[in-house]
Symmetry: C2
Subunit: 282 residues, 2 copies
């Protein structure tokens, strides 16, 4: 079993069970949201990293889409049921999804989760090569424009997927989106972390359209508790060669040092990567 599917109100179903009807707005309009967390099955049991933070972000995405609030207790129960049924050792992706549901019948939201065995991220955790791609928006485009859904983890990810295809075409691992005014924003499925001036810097999520990263927030909390200065700022690619490192961070794949951006080598200290990864639970 490589994948498990469970439906809210129904429980675990066979993974190849058709679930969405033809006019589900999550399918026809990408009108819904998701969240994704890492699941680890090891000798010490099963755990989902930062589950409550992911549930909180899932609820926030729902609110910004003006969907009814998720019943988090029902979600927790469904996740527990799914975890009990998932026995594949190693890392997996727990994805929670909800849509506005069928359009014509108004039957209510479609809500389900999947657990999928994760692909091996060990090479990426040693380092990735990235390119910048223009995201087309200015870094302040989302101020006072809630209809642009900045920072909402919607099901409308076609541009994110297209950017990943562009990276493959150019023979690199990752994309970092850049605003039209030249600031590094985030990756299609990652957030950014910069070390500079012996501090950790994350990107600001208000007004920039950047998705708040659960994993980066967890790292910043750990770092601050350990006495490391943490702050938020927008960086330009040309600032990075004189920094102490750049990472793209994913809840599932972890803390990936960017060794090269647009062909320019970046500084990297594996000991710092190890500390950041440990702070995130990797």
């Amino acid at each position: 079993m490589e994948q498990l599917v469970a439906v809210l109100g129904r429980g675990v179903v066979a993974a190849d069970t058709p679930l969405l009807i033809a006019d589900d707005l999550g399918f026809t309009r990408g009108d819904g949201c998701f969240d994704a967390a890492r699941l680890v099955v090891g000798a010490e049991g099963k755990r989902v990293d930062h589950l409550e933070r992911h549930l909180a972000r899932f609820a926030r995405s729902s609110a910004l889409l003006e969907l009814p609030a998720p019943d988090l207790d029902a979600w927790r129960a469904l996740i527990a049921e799914a975890l009990a049924a998932w026995e594949v050792p190693g890392e997996a992706v727990l994805k929670l999804l909800r849509t506005r549901g069928p359009e014509r019948s108004g039957a209510g939201l479609t809500e389900l989760l999947t657990i999928t065995a994760a692909s091996d991220a060990s090479a990426a955790r040693r380092g990735v090569r990235a390119i910048t791609l223009n995201r087309g928006y200015a870094s302040d485009a989302f101020v006072d424009a809630p209809w642009l859904l900045g920072g909402v983890k919607t099901l409308s990810y076609a541009v994110n997927v297209a950017a990943k295809r562009e990276a493959s075409r150019r023979g690199v691992d990752e994309v970092i989106f850049v605003s039209s005014d030249g600031f590094l924003l985030e990756g299609p499925t990652t957030g950014l972390l910069v070390a500079a001036d012996d501090q950790l810097w994350a990107t600001p999520t208000e007004g920039t359209g950047i998705l708040p990263s659960v994993t980066i927030d967890a790292i910043l909390d750990e770092a601050a508790a350990g006495g490391v200065g943490v702050s938020r700022a927008l960086f330009r690619a040309e600032d990075l060669p004189t920094s102490q490192g750049l990472w793209v961070v994913s809840a599932v794949r972890g803390v990936l040092p960017v060794l090269e951006l647009d062909g320019v080598a970046l500084p990297h200290d594996p000991a710092v990567t190890a500390r950041l990864a440990a702070a995130a639970g990797f």
Copy 2:
């Protein structure tokens, strides 16, 4: 029967048949495309307006998403089968959809169509009130940035849907997106047409991210054949009070005169609207 569903390779199925599995990329990523045409069932039979133009745009969207080309003969046969089974008199929406398909199994594309009875557009055809909403992109943002999927009718429409919610909240009928540099672009589900200097003006679709409008192209072809000057240009809202009219155009709802934009009354000649509607087949 208010809705009919038919699946490529399978034919007509009950409308409430679950069709998509949980990891279909059209659902999880909005990674797919669609097109929508008007179907009219009248005393003289059934017809789909501009079907071949819609099929061509569907194929173009597929190509820009790097999906395999649609088998248009198979689509035409499926449409014919669906039309034969659809008996509701009046106007309906024929929607064609295709996704990259299930992610894990790689089982291939999900391809289906729906026919849905259209809601009554007669009031909108007499006139609508609209607001402008910033789309966040500059009018040249899509030049040399194919990963932004400008002009591709993808399933990732969450922003379009959110903009329509914003219009409802503000008590108006329609939204016209404006570029960050102040140009009127298109609506969430409409194209724009302007009359000025005794010519018809459509918005340019290259580099602007604007979806090519099948219905506007049909109107422009008819107008040019009748000796009317047709051209393409970007307009600002402040240009419109001195124009001869602004219309938002939908394949399904038709040619809708904008009587008021951001609270400013616009010129309107119902005789021109009637001619434009007739040119589009309404």
